[in-house]
């Protein structure tokens, strides 16, 4: 096997497994060795599961030998953010107070992937408690700061740090992450991988760490758009064990996707003005490419809401309740980032009336997005407006670009806005600034994943940013 397999798309790997070019055991062992070699360099690994993975791969080989095929994920290894429970093994939620936590049940999404013949190779690192208290240090994790494969002096993004860096470095073919407000889109952009945040309720959260019951989503980080569609089909679906389940399935059907020429893409002309100097040329070029994909285009504005305060109160209040016992025990002070502990404690002081007011305003958010999506089918905007920050600097440091000339807010609040409304988002690599990846996000109405994937697929057909590989030579 050559290094090329580590960046092969899922369908390519599966086809070669079926042709017996290599076995699932050989493939799993190859990824395990690479993960063992490079994973620690990026603080990407929470828990290697090599022996279990090899046993599972042997079972898959037996199935393949007897022509028992289970679809495109059969025999493909993957990593899962350490907020997903895997029975009998530590699930740390990235936080020291939970370092020895073990559940006796496996998360629904991991069960679904097991049924599809996928092989769980490792639990991957994350920001402690998915950043639920509000973190300001890249090192807010039991595993240390997530380091970026494109430049280890830069952050991998969070809170799905390990999934993003592991996929970017070719350590796993794909990974599962989670997003409450930005935790898939942001690290996907920082590391140059393709990330999909599904509609709220499409993927079961049973067995996942609860942070915000009304905003948590499980999603995918992959090499390309096609892979995101394949994995989403496997993990989506109704689950009576998740009260937030929408009761819907997802079928990745590119052959039946609406033509782009029948759709309208909304964008804001103000967006490039929010980018820093080194990111702006690439983002401008990428936005031009997106506008030329064949869809009709329309200038639009996001509705105006106090996005930061809404996410702060809703995630804060729900997170404070979710971690009430941690806070009461005093163990919250063991977290790596003291601002997380302070934030969680302060969350318990939010008044019920303030939370309910936030939720009432959130109803208006949903209504305004419904109105917006009567004029456009999909929105496009930068996933981030700058490259990954330095690991050595606080995330909420002084404004490095104080002399902005943007006339309006553009889509700068699309991450919190989309999450508050429960909307799906797809992040695709779109260029580089100062040698670090940049990305665009496509956002659509609830359950419009196939439309987002259609835009992303066309974007990746016209560009090769998703095929670029970090050097790993430092």
């Amino acid at each position: 096997m050559t290094d090329e397999i580590f960046y092969s798309p899922l369908t390519g790997l599966n086809e070669r497994l079926r042709k017996r070019e290599f076995s699932a055991v050989e493939l799993t062992r190859a990824f395990a060795e690479r993960l063992g070699k490079y994973g620690p360099r990026f603080n990407a690994v929470a828990l290697p599961l090599t022996e279990i993975a090899l046993r599972r791969a042997k079972e898959v080989d037996d199935d393949l030998k007897h022509d028992r095929f289970h679809g495109p994920l059969q025999g493909i290894s993957f990593g899962a953010k350490d907020m997903l429970s895997f029975a009998g093994h530590p699930t740390t939620w990235g936080a020291r107070p939970f370092a020895s936590q073990v559940f006796d049940e496996t998360a629904t999404v991991l069960q679904k992937l097991d049924k599809a013949g996928s092989v769980l190779l490792a639990k991957l690192s994350m920001v402690e408690l998915a950043g639920g208290g509000g973190y300001r240090l890249a090192g807010a994790s039991l595993f240390g700061p997530g380091l970026n494969p494109w430049n280890p002096e830069r952050w991998s993004g969070g809170s799905s740090s390990g999934p993003a860096s592991a996929v970017a470095a070719g350590l796993v073919p794909f990974a599962l992450g989670s997003e409450t407000s930005g935790s898939i889109i942001s690290p996907s952009a920082c590391c140059g991988v393709t990330g999909l945040r599904p509609t709220y309720g499409l993927v079961s959260r049973h067995g996942a760490m609860p942070l915000s019951w009304t905003m948590d989503k499980i999603g995918t980080l992959c090499r390309n758009v096609e892979d995101c569609g394949i994995v989403l089909q496997a993990i989506a679906g109704s689950d009576s064990k998740d009260p937030g389940s929408a009761g819907k399935s997802f079928y990745y059907t590119p052959q039946y996707a609406r033509k782009l020429s029948d759709m309208t893409l909304g964008f804001s002309p103000d967006d490039p003005d929010w980018a820093d100097a080194e990111s702006r040329p690439a983002l401008e070029a990428a936005l031009r490419t997106a506008r030329d994909l064949g869809a009709k285009v329309l200038e639009v504005s996001l509705p105006e809401f106090p996005w930061g305060s809404l996410t702060d109160i809703i995630i804060g209040t729900e997170g404070g309740a979710a971690f009430e016992s941690l806070i009461a025990s005093g163990k919250v002070d063991e977290l790596a980032d003291p601002s997380q502990a302070a934030g969680l404690k302060a969350n318990l002081g939010v008044l019920a009336k303030d939370y309910l007011r936030a939720m009432r305003i959130r109803s208006l958010v949903k209504q305004k997005f419904r109105e917006l999506f009567t004029t456009v089918d999909v929105l496009v905007a930068p996933s981030r407006y700058n490259v990954a920050p330095k690991v050595s600097e606080p995330l909420d440091g002084p404004d490095p670009f104080p002399s902005g000339k943007a006339k309006g807010p553009g889509m700068t609040s699309l991450i919190p806005a989309g999450n508050l409304a429960g909307l799906p988002a797809l992040s695709v690599p779109c260029g580089f600034g100062g040698g670090l990846p940049l990305a665009l996000q496509f956002v659509g109405p609830a359950f419009s994943e196939n439309s987002l994937l259609a835009f992303g697929r066309e974007f990746q057909a016209r560009t090769d940013w998703h095929l670029r590989r970090p050097p790993l030579s430092f």
């Binding site: 509000g134 409450t180 995630i315 601002s339 969350n347 303030d354 208006l364 104080p402 902005g404």
Partner: protein
């Protein structure tokens, strides 16, 4: 919104809570700063005050109901 606020919003999950804090920290070194909790509480109060000022009429109420 400033680019600083934008950077915090984009960091992933609930990183919006400490915008009022201006002390620059050296990364990876846990800080023992008694004003963290006060800053976090001040931030929550500011967020609640901003929401309180947001116009909201009862016409939105049917959209926020318990469903049996």
């Amino acid at each position: 919104m400033t680019r600083r606020q934008l950077a915090v919003l984009a960091a992933g999950s609930a990183t919006t809570g400490l915008l009022a804090l201006t002390t620059k920290a050296s990364a990876q070194t846990p800080l023992v700063a008694p004003d963290y909790l006060q800053a976090a509480r001040d931030s929550k109060r500011a967020a609640a005050a901003e929401l309180a000022a947001f116009p909201l009429d009862t016409a939105t109420e049917p959209a926020f109901q318990f469903k049996a």
